[in-house]
C-alpha cells in the first residue's frame, strides 16, 4: 500500500519536473508552431550556465537564477529573431533542421568545454531533506517544491495568455500572422519574445533539474522527448494539458520503474504511443490545426 502511494507520489513529483521542462516547448509550439529540437539541450545549457555562475561568483544555485533566467531569455530572443525567424513558413523541415543544428552545436560545445563528466549543482541539504507524512511514508521537500512551482508556472502562463496584452498578441500572431501585422504588431518581435519566455522557463527547469540530479552534455535529447511526450499526451495548445501530460508521463515512468528498473522510460513511451493510437490530438487539445 505504501509502495503504491509512494510510486504515485514519485510519479506526481517527477511529473512536476517534466511539466516545468515541457512548458517552454508548449509555449513555442502554441505561438509559432515551432518544435524546438534543441529544447532539451537548452535545459542542460541552463544547468551548465548556473554551474559556471556558481563556480565564478560562489552563488547558491537558486540565486544564480537571477542571472540564468535573463541570460537564457536573451539567448532565446536572439536565436528566434536572427536565425529561426528565417526558417518559419510552410515547409516543416527548415526549423526542424536548424534546431537540430542548434542541438548538435550546444551538445558538442558543452562537451568540449566541460567534458562528459557528470555534474551536479550543489545546493546542500535542501535537496535531500524530506518530511514524514504518516507512518513510514516520506516525501522529499525539493521535489514537492518543484511540483508546486510547476503548477504555479502553468497558472501564470495561462494568465499571461488569457489576460494580458502580450498574451493577446501571442494568440493573434499564432492565429494569423499577416493580420496581426495589420494590428500594429511586430510579429517578429512577438515570436522572439515567445522563445525568450520559453527559454527562460526551460532554463529554470534546468537549474532545478541540476540541483536534484546529475547532468552531462548528452542528456538533452532524452528530456526533449519527455517534454514532447508530455505536451502530446496533454494536448497541444493547452498549458493545463501539459501539466496533466507531464504528471501522467511521470506516473507511468514511476510505475514502470517499480516493475523493473529497465522499464521506467519504456512505460512512458508506451503511454505516449497509446495516446497517439487512440487520441492523437491529446487529452485536452486546444489548437485548431497543425
Amino acid at each position: 500500500m505504501i509502495t503504491l502511494l509512494d510510486t504515485l507520489v514519485q510519479g506526481l513529483l517527477l511529473g512536476g519536473l517534466y511539466t516545468l521542462t515541457a512548458l517552454g516547448l508548449s509555449l513555442a509550439f502554441g505561438v509559432m508552431r515551432l518544435v524546438n529540437v534543441a529544447h532539451g539541450d537548452f535545459m542542460v545549457l541552463g544547468a551548465y550556465f548556473a554551474l559556471v555562475i556558481m563556480q565564478t561568483l560562489g552563488l547558491h544555485p537558486l540565486l544564480s537564477l537571477l542571472i540564468v533566467l535573463p541570460g537564457m531569455a536573451v539567448a532565446g530572443y536572439l536565436a528566434q529573431r536572427f536565425v529561426l525567424d528565417r526558417t518559419l513558413g510552410r515547409d516543416i523541415l527548415p526549423p526542424l533542421l536548424v534546431t537540430f543544428g542548434f542541438s548538435i552545436i550546444v551538445q558538442s560545445a558543452l562537451l568540449e568545454v566541460f567534458s562528459a563528466d557528470s555534474r551536479r549543482l550543489d545546493a546542500g541539504d535542501l535537496v535531500t531533506a524530506s518530511f514524514n507524512v504518516f507512518g513510514d511514508f516520506y516525501v522529499g521537500w525539493f521535489p514537492l517544491l518543484i511540483t508546486v512551482l510547476a503548477v504555479a508556472m502553468v497558472a501564470a502562463m495561462q494568465w499571461l495568455f488569457a489576460r494580458t496584452r502580450i498574451g493577446r498578441a501571442f494568440r493573434a500572431v499564432s492565429d494569423d500572422q499577416e493580420i496581426a501585422q495589420l494590428m500594429g504588431i511586430d510579429h517578429k518581435h512577438v515570436f522572439a519574445l515567445a522563445l525568450a519566455v520559453a527559454s527562460a522557463c526551460v532554463g529554470l527547469a534546468g537549474v532545478l533539474f541540476g540541483m536534484s540530479t546529475t547532468f552531462d552534455p548528452a542528456i538533452g535529447p532524452a528530456h526533449l522527448i519527455y517534454a514532447f511526450e508530455a505536451v502530446i499526451i496533454g494536448g497541444m495548445g493547452s498549458f493545463w494539458g501539459t501539466f496533466v501530460g507531464g504528471v501522467l508521463l511521470g506516473t507511468m515512468q514511476a510505475i514502470g520503474f517499480r516493475v523493473d528498473p529497465g522499464w521506467g522510460v519504456l512505460f512512458g513511451h508506451a503511454a505516449f504511443l497509446l495516446v497517439l493510437l487512440f487520441r492523437p490530438s491529446g487529452l485536452f487539445p486546444r489548437t485548431r490545426d497543425q
Binding site: 493577446r168 498578441a169 494568440r171 494569423d176 493580420i179 501585422q181 495589420l182 494590428m183
Partner: protein, 232 residues
C-alpha cells in the same frame, strides 16, 4: 490635396505581376469605390497600399509621405487601416479581444470600445463570444469595428459584401456615412457594382491590373462601366 495617392503602382506575387501601374487618389472625407471582375487586382491594390505586399517607395503616398515598402505594422500606426477580405478575425480571441487588439496601434480619436458598440450594437451583446461563433454579417461588423479601433484617417474595405445576404449588406453599408462623419476617408473594393456606385463619390474600375475607367458614378453610363469591367 489628396490624402492617399498611388503613382504607377505595381505589385507582384513572386514572378506574377498583378498590378501594372495604378494611379489613384483619395481626398479627405471622400468615399471612393474600386470595382472590377475577379482577379482584376482590386484586393491586391488594397493589400499593397496596406503594406502586405511590397510596393516601390514612392508609389504610395499618404498625407504627403511616401509609405511604399514600409511594414504593415508601421503603416497602420500612421493611420491607414484595412478591413481584410474574408473578415479574418482571430479565432482564438473573443469579439471584445479582437476589438481591443485593433486598438493596439494606439492612435487617439473618436473610436473606442464604447463608440464602436454604439455603431454596431450587436458587438456589445456578443462581446464575450468567440469571434468565429458569429454569423457572417456580424463578423463583418466586428472586422470593420476592429479596423476603426485604430482611429484611421483612411479605412480600406475589401469586399464587405462577400458571402452576405442583401439585407445584411444594406445594414453594413448604412453605417459607412457615420464612419465618414467621424473623420475617416473610405476606399471600398466591391464586386456589387450597384452598392458601390450608390455610396461612392468617385469610382475606379480595374481590369487585369490596370485602371480601365474612372469618374463620378452619376456621369458614367452603363455601357461605359460594362465595357471597362469586362474589357470588351
Amino acid at each position: 490635396m489628396s490624402l492617399l495617392s498611388t503613382h504607377r503602382l505595381t505589385a507582384f506575387y513572386g514572378d506574377f505581376q498583378a498590378l501594372f501601374g495604378i494611379d489613384f487618389s483619395l481626398a479627405a472625407g471622400e468615399v471612393v469605390a474600386i470595382i472590377g471582375a475577379n482577379g482584376a487586382g482590386k484586393s491586391t491594390f488594397l493589400r499593397t497600399v496596406a503594406g502586405l505586399n511590397r510596393a516601390p517607395r514612392d508609389a504610395v503616398v499618404f498625407d504627403g509621405q511616401p509609405i511604399g515598402g514600409l511594414a504593415p505594422s508601421t503603416i497602420v500606426k500612421l493611420g491607414l487601416a484595412l478591413v481584410p477580405e474574408g473578415r479574418r478575425l482571430f479565432p482564438s480571441l473573443t469579439v471584445e479581444e479582437n476589438l481591443l487588439i485593433g486598438a493596439n496601434p494606439g492612435r487617439a480619436g473618436p473610436w473606442n470600445l464604447a463608440s464602436v458598440c454604439r455603431l454596431f450594437p450587436i458587438l456589445k451583446e456578443r462581446r464575450r463570444s468567440a469571434a468565429t461563433a458569429l454569423s457572417g454579417g456580424q463578423q463583418q461588423m466586428v472586422a470593420i469595428a476592429r479596423a476603426l479601433m485604430s482611429n484611421p484617417r483612411v479605412l480600406l474595405c475589401d469586399e464587405l459584401s462577400l458571402g452576405l445576404a442583401p439585407l445584411v449588406i444594406r445594414d453594413i453599408y448604412a453605417t459607412l456615412p457615420k464612419v465618414r462623419e467621424h473623420g475617416a476617408a473610405i476606399v471600398i473594393v466591391e464586386q456589387d457594382i450597384g452598392q458601390a456606385m450608390r455610396v461612392a463619390d468617385r469610382v475606379y474600375c480595374l481590369q487585369e491590373g490596370r485602371v480601365s475607367l474612372t469618374g463620378q458614378p452619376q456621369e458614367l453610363t452603363r455601357a461605359q462601366v460594362s465595357s471597362a469591367y469586362f474589357g470588351v
